[in-house]
């Protein structure tokens, strides 16, 4: 399982990376915004995308939309981990096809629960 972690704050990327490692996901890569992430996703064989929303350059929501619009990536599971907590934004993310939404600050258990739920759903639909 290869996971791409996208956040403009390197500390947050490290936190998520460590939490994922704790959950048994050792194969991770990092990007600091959508513009860097998209080519990595297009050329790499990623199985899962964890992204922040508010980033300079390309924002997480636009990255999500770009992923859904890309034939090769359209089915990639995407988890948004963001400080944006407004209803409108969560609805927008849902409409754009997000698989999970975690509001910062979050705890390790929440992240674990959301990731497990995403994969349960994917397995159930296969």
């Amino acid at each position: 399982m290869k996971i791409l972690i996208v956040d403009d704050f390197s500390t947050m990327r490290r936190i998520i990376k460590n939490l994922l490692r704790d959950l048994g996901f050792n194969n991770t890569a990092e990007a600091d915004d959508g513009n860097t992430a998209l080519p990595m996703l297009q050329s790499g064989d990623f199985d899962f995308l964890v992204t922040d929303w508010n980033m300079p350059g390309m924002e997480g929501i636009d990255l999500l939309k770009a992923v859904r619009a890309d034939e090769k990536l359209a089915n990639l599971p995407v988890l948004l981990v963001t400080a944006e907590a407004k209803k409108e934004q969560i609805v927008e993310a849902a409409q754009a096809g997000v698989n999970g939404y975690v509001v910062k600050p979050f705890n390790a258990a929440t992240l674990k629960e959301k990731i497990e739920k995403i994969f349960e759903r994917i397995e159930a639909s296969q």
Partner: protein, 248 residues
């Protein structure tokens, strides 16, 4: 404007000289023409002055718009920024305490494991060099058993403390986002002040005046206590409820 005024004065002087000459030579018609010309020049001057006043009025009105922005900054955005920065202090304070608490809790656990292992190691060396009595060996076995018994539990504890330290570092992201917004505000204040200085210093420098409105911020970043948006959800549970109502 100074240049055109100089031209007008020169024209005036010319007409005046002509008027004197016409009167001296008794040419009445020429004298009347010179007088008419002088009054035309005066009218031109008056229209120029009206034009200047109109432009000043326009500039003042534009300047008033900038003033209104500044009052919004002073009344709302600066107090908001103060609260945001206070929140940054609280968040960093909590993160530091969370980290220090985890370290304080973890150190005695490490020491306990270290002491127990050192004690066993000392006896183990004596055992290897066949320096241990049967009673001492029984004692050593008990100690090894005890050490193994607590190890799993203590290492799990240490891992929890390390995890707490890891999670405490999320303050950098949260506070970074808040501080970025305050930096944006400081930039806004700077632009407005520069605009004001330009208005009071020179009324002609209209082109360079900052008329930029604060950028409409769609994303709000971390919610700050006391300043939560009306539609902001308060917890992950509320986010989950909303998502499940959307069919997630």
């Amino acid at each position: 404007m100074a240049f055109s005024e100089a031209i007008l004065s020169e024209q005036c002087l010319e007409q005046a000289k002509g008027l004197v000459k016409s009167i001296e030579s008794g040419d009445e018609n020429a004298a009347i023409n010179h007088l008419r010309e002088i009054s035309r020049i005066n009218e031109t001057k008056m229209f120029q002055e009206i034009g200047r006043l109109t432009r000043e009025l326009h500039d003042t009105l534009v300047g008033f718009g900038v003033d209104t922005d500044i009052s919004v900054l002073a009344e709302h955005e600066i107090p908001d920024a103060r609260e945001r920065l206070s929140h940054v202090i609280n968040v960093t304070d909590q993160a530091a305490h969370k980290t220090l608490t985890a370290v304080e809790e973890a150190i005695p656990v490490c020491r306990e494991l270290e002491d127990s292992a050192s004690k066993i190691e000392l006896q183990w060396k004596r055992f290897i060099s066949r320096d241990l009595s049967a009673d001492e060996f029984r004692e050593l076995s008990r100690e090894i058993g005890g050490h193994l018994e607590i190890s799993a539990d203590r290492y799990a504890k240490i891992k929890t403390y390390l995890n707490d330290i890891l999670m405490a570092q999320d303050f950098q992201d949260i506070t970074g986002q808040i501080i970025r917004r305050v930096i944006g505000l400081v930039q806004d204040v700077e632009d407005k002040l520069v605009g004001l200085i330009k208005i009071s210093g020179s009324l002609d420098d209209e082109e360079n005046r900052s008329e930029k409105n604060p950028v409409e911020k769609v994303l709000e970043g971390p919610q700050v206590p006391g300043q939560e948006s009306a539609t902001a959800l308060k917890s992950q549970d509320e986010v989950d409820d909303l998502l499940s109502s959307l069919g997630f």
